[in-house]
Amino acid sequence: MNDIGASLALALRLITGGDPSLWHVVLLSLEVSLAAAALACLLGLPLGALVAVERFPGRRAAIVTLNALLALPSVVVGLVVYLLLSRAGPLGSLGILFTPTAIVIAQAILVMPIVAALARQFVEDGWRDYEEQLRSFGVTPLRAIPTLLWDLRYALFTVVLAGFGRAASEVGAVMIVGGNIDGVTRVMTTAIALETSKGDLPLALGLGIVLLAIVLALNAVAYAIREWSAKHHG
């Protein structure tokens, strides 16, 4: 077990020493995950809100589909995105397979259902409280969506963070559509997988620690925001 101790020491030195290859991977991870989370929220928040407030034909089917999408195996998503973006695929002409953009797309597809499902829950609860008051003002359910998204912004921010955390910790799909190319599409998770299999434990551990720290920090921020909003906004 001395091996692990030594690796850990080396990992900490990599982190604190500002090892450029490590920080490049970290930065790229953050960039693509942020973009993916943003994209997923852009679609997922309004979609979740829509399903929460509107009674439309096919609403049940939409809910079941969204819930099913929650359980999407990420490698299957990776495979499908790969097929779409590969040279022979329908979107092959874009030439974005094995680029960070491809990673963003795959992550966004995985994160969107999570954002939509969580948003639906929050907005549905909110709508129960707000519905009569808003309808009294003459606000239709559709028109209430931006109001609710804004009024529930602190609760929904934790949804955004959850989406970001999910994107940042994704491996399978990212490996398939990104290709784990050094300096181009190598992100924290795929680097950890690769370095571990190569036996370069210090780098793998160093990245693992950073990833863990990010996830912890996200949760701390989410908690702080809840506390703060409860105190200042009621």
């Binding site: 409280d129 707000y130 009569e132 008051q133 309808r135 009294s136 003002f137 003459g138 606000v139 028109r143 109001t147 009024d151 529930l152 912004r153 602190y154 909003s229 200042h232 906004h233 009621g234």
Partner: protein, 243 residues
């Protein structure tokens, strides 16, 4: 708002919630000339009736018409027994209601400020609405509804969480709103408030309109035994829910 809305007519209104009858066969017509107070014990159906009139609940049977038409006119507002304030400052709450009713620009701000002023909350304009005290929230809700300059204003227990001074304030504000040409329809189980404000009384008991009378004659000579018992403070709990 030159819309001809009144009279507001309820015809044979019945409201049931999974078999439980909240309102039964209630009919009346309001011309808005005098403040109408819907009086009754807890659970008598006052809030439900107000919601039906305001168009928030569709009656199980019967109808509500405005000046003979079925369409719900926009120039009406309601202050709920438990108002829902948006997570934004007090002033912004009023501005929101105005915005969704198509009032923008300088007029929106001016009307919102004026409404806040009227309820004595100008100094709290920029405070988050949800952290206001219960009484302040109720006054803000009143300001928000009145800023819409409705032709008819529904008030559900507008003083239930207020101290005596704030209650008196609300009564004064309601009087001002009425003087501005807004018809008032209010529920309460507060006899003092009803006596001071009401032009006429609609007394609900167990979902039924038991008595309707000018306020003075109602308080001096209630015709129904239920109303008499209610005024004596002797209405037994057990009869307040319909069989």
């Amino acid at each position: 708002m030159g819309e001809a809305m009144l009279p507001l007519e309820a015809r044979a209104l019945t409201v049931r919630f999974n078999g439980h009858t909240a309102i039964e066969d209630v009919s009346f017509s309001l011309d808005g000339a005098m403040p109408a107070v819907i009086l009754g014990a807890n659970g008598a159906g006052k809030s439900v009736l107000l919601r039906v009139l305001h168009g928030l609940i569709a009656p199980t049977s019967g109808s509500v018409t405005w000046s003979g038409a079925n369409e719900r006119p926009r120039a009406q507002a309601m202050v709920f027994q438990r108002p829902v304030l948006l997570r934004r400052p007090a002033l912004a709450n009023i501005e929101y209601a105005l915005a969704v009713n198509g009032i923008g620009g300088a007029e929106r701000t001016a009307r919102a400020r004026e409404a806040l002023e009227r309820v004595g909350l100008s100094h709290l304009a920029h405070r988050q609405a949800r952290v206001l005290s219960g009484g302040e929230q109720q006054r803000l809700a009143l300001a928000r509804a009145s800023a819409l300059r409705p032709r008819v204003l529904f008030l559900d227990e507008p003083t239930s969480s207020l101290d005596p001074t704030a209650s008196a304030d609300v009564e004064r504000i309601v009087g001002e709103i009425r003087a501005g040409g807004t018809a008032i329809v209010m529920t309460t189980h507060n006899l003092g408030l009803a006596k001071r404000v009401a032009g006429e009384i609609l007394f609900l008991h167990a979902g039924r309109l038991v008595e309707r009378a000018p306020a003075q004659s109602f308080f001096n000579h209630p015709r129904s035994p239920e109303a008499a018992a209610f005024l004596e403070g002797e209405l037994p709990w057990s009869v307040s829910s319909p069989a």
